[in-house]
Amino acid sequence: MTEENWTTVIKPKNRLLEVNIGELWKYKDLIALFIKRNIITQYKQTILGPLWFVVQPALSVVMYMIVFGGIAGIPTDGVPRPLFYLAGTCMWQYFSDCITKTSNTFVDNAAIFGKVYFPRLATPISNVLSNLVRFGIQFGLFLVVYAIYALIGGLAAHFTWYALLFPVLVLMMAGLALGFGILFSSMTTKYRDLQVLFSFGISLWMYATPIVYPLTQTKSMFWKGIPVHKLMCLNPVTPVIETFKYGFLGAGEFVGWRWLIYSFVFMVVLLALGIVVFNRVQKNFMDTV
């Protein structure tokens, strides 16, 4: 019996960087079906159905207008409040949905994973992709509100060329969410403590990102001699959100290519790290979950 005839070899552990992208491609139909399932099952037996995609951000925007705009009186770079908050929530919601869903990959799918093998990475990838639909609808809402303001006239917001970066920005959001998500999901299989930490961590994270306030607000602040807005940009989500807002609303100022590239590199490294760790965990997670 010659060695090269074997089509399947099952070994105790993978080599560190052995990630089987080809295998994932073979299961592309499965990913497509997962996406379809995620979308159609989400609002089955609800009256409003996909309309909830619109209701959720609308209600959050009203909330922000009352709390941050009304009570706290935080300015919004001269942009109408609903538009400013909508731009922020739209992006953030996508990020946080993806990351929360992805970080529960192993725990949520333990039943399926325990019975049959398919590339586990198919689940988080399909999560991130199916959330794009919801994001698309919410982004549509943003554009509609934008158009209404433009028709009424006297709108202080305007497009800039940076709006053309939109696809890249969405890709970066997706990549960051996927990277963080699979990294966390790999860690939570054994130590569930992280799950608790994580669920409130994500809501705190939103306040560390300029969603309900403009980054320009922090311009003149310093912490131990370091400008606060630079510290904020260390959060890889900040440059993405800021570029999005600057591109579509012309609000504030561009964070600079350096920060945007930093975010991009951060995403690539994070994804690579996440996939390696995820790949290691997926082989034996059934014994610990």
């Binding site: 139909d29 093998y117 059934m286 610990t288």
Partner: protein, 416 residues
């Protein structure tokens, strides 16, 4: 025949108890010894053999230890063993649900696993949508499923409900649909774990037929785990007996079953765990077919089943001793009572009850479990041993040669 699957020194270590407190400490210690001091994993050494019933000292246990065997292409291999012998772990390794601790498995061709049918069914989606979903999870492409869709729907017999969400299905229909998808997977290697235990008789027949087709046509390899000896005998050519995580026998299916049953016999006694005892009655010995062990073979054509109960009693009067014969699901199929012919018994001092039970010649093949009880009818139970003995009934073969299983009842009625 070329080899289809090869297990090389496969072992699997499991941690017992809760995976929570101490996990971090163990992880740190393991990391320290293996990565920093470059020594062997301290927990690999202390693993014990996997014996479910005895208490061990170690937190780690070898669910499988040094499994080493080959399966030839086109073989249908039955894997038998007691609960916890490592059968399912072996299939899990093969279907890549979890990885072995040591060793390697080599296989040729696509491996399809039926560890549980209907994996990934979403209750809110229709039957048709779930066929696609389930098929894709099992590794089929969309085009492949579309091509086989009609066949699958037809096989499942759920055509009428195919556009209804599966949450409205009966559990049996769900299983039918799941099995139908899996049966059309057409892998080179099929791994099956006890899926035949569900579904009604008609469907079981269909499922067994399909599995036979799979193995006969196209030289596919099937690994089949079951406690149903009749099914193993029917389907499999070769058999492997697992005991406490190691292969204790490998050979033809018939030999394996024989070995397994006799292996069982070495350990468990009829008197091991009586469900009820009484201070005034001490049962010392029960022999069925001349053995005190809790499993034996019944050959109805030989005529009789010998029962002997011996013990000491203190003024027990108007008592009865009886045996109830049950099928695998626990439904009573037949009974024997010592008092039927002799009248109620008066037991005082040492007693010895023995009887030869006449067996009908036309019993069906399968497993009977026996309950033994000594009681005063309608008053009090003195001794109860539930399912304390297992009888493998060989069954009678009609002219057609088609062996009838116990699932179609205890007896075949005869023509006058």
């Amino acid at each position: 025949m070329p080899t289809a699957i090869e297990f090389n020194n496969i072992s699997k270590l499991y941690r017992l108890g809760l995976v929570s407190t101490g996990t971090l400490a163990h992880d740190l210690k393991r990391w320290w010894t293996v990565s920093i001091r470059r020594k062997e994993d301290p927990y690999l050494k202390i693993g014990e053999t996997n014996d479910r019933s005895t208490k061990g000292d170690s937190d780690y246990v070898w669910a499988l230890k040094d499994i080493d065997f080959k399966v030839e292409q086109g073989d249908v291999v039955g894997i038998i063993g007691k609960n916890g012998a490592g059968k399912s772990t072996l299939l899990k390794l093969l279907s890549k649900v979890t990885a072995p601790t040591t060793g390697e498995i080599h296989a040729k061709g696509r491996i399809g696993s039926l560890l549980e049918v209907g994996t990934g069914f979403h209750p809110e989606m229709t039957g048709r949508e779930n066929i696609y979903m389930n098929g894709a999870i099992l590794g089929m492409t969309k085009a492949e499923i579309t091509r086989k869709l009609d066949e699958i729907v037809d096989f499942s017999g759920c055509e009428r409900y195919i556009d209804t969400p599966v949450k409205r299905y009966s559990s049996g229909m769900m299983v039918r649909l799941g099995f139908a998808v899996a049966a059309h997977l057409d892998p080179e290697i099929l791994v099956v774990d006890e899926v035949l235990a569900v579904g009604d008789a008609e469907f079981q027949k269909k499922a067994i037929g399909k599995m036979q087709d799979v193995s006969k046509g196209g030289g596919r390899t099937v690994l089949f785990v079951s406690h149903n000896m009749a099914a193993v005998r029917n389907l499999c050519k070769t058999g492997i007996v697992l005991h406490n995580g190691s292969v204790v026998f490998s050979g033809t299916a018939d030999q394996a079953i024989e070995k397994y049953l006799s292996n069982d016999r070495l350990k468990d006694q009829i008197l091991d765990n009586p469900a009820k005892t009484h201070p005034r009655l001490n049962v010392q010995k029960i022999l069925i077919n001349g053995t005190s062990l809790s499993s034996s073979t019944l050959t109805p054509t030989n005529g009789t089943l010998d029962v002997l109960i011996e013990g000491d009693a203190e003024k027990i009067s108007n008592a009865d001793a009886s045996l109830i014969f049950r099928n695998n699901d626990g439904a009573a199929l037949a009974r024997f009572s010592f008092s039927d012919k002799r009248g109620l018994l008066n037991l005082n001092g040492h007693f010895c009850l023995s009887a030869k039970i006449k067996l009908p010649l036309n019993m069906h093949a399968g497993r009977l479990k026996v309950d033994i009880a000594i009681h005063q009818p309608n008053v009090e139970f003195y001794f109860v041993a539930r399912e304390c003995c297992m009888l493998e009934v060989e069954g009678y073969t009609p002219v057609t040669g088609q062996l009838q299983p116990l699932s179609s009842g205890l007896l075949s009625l005869e023509e006058e």
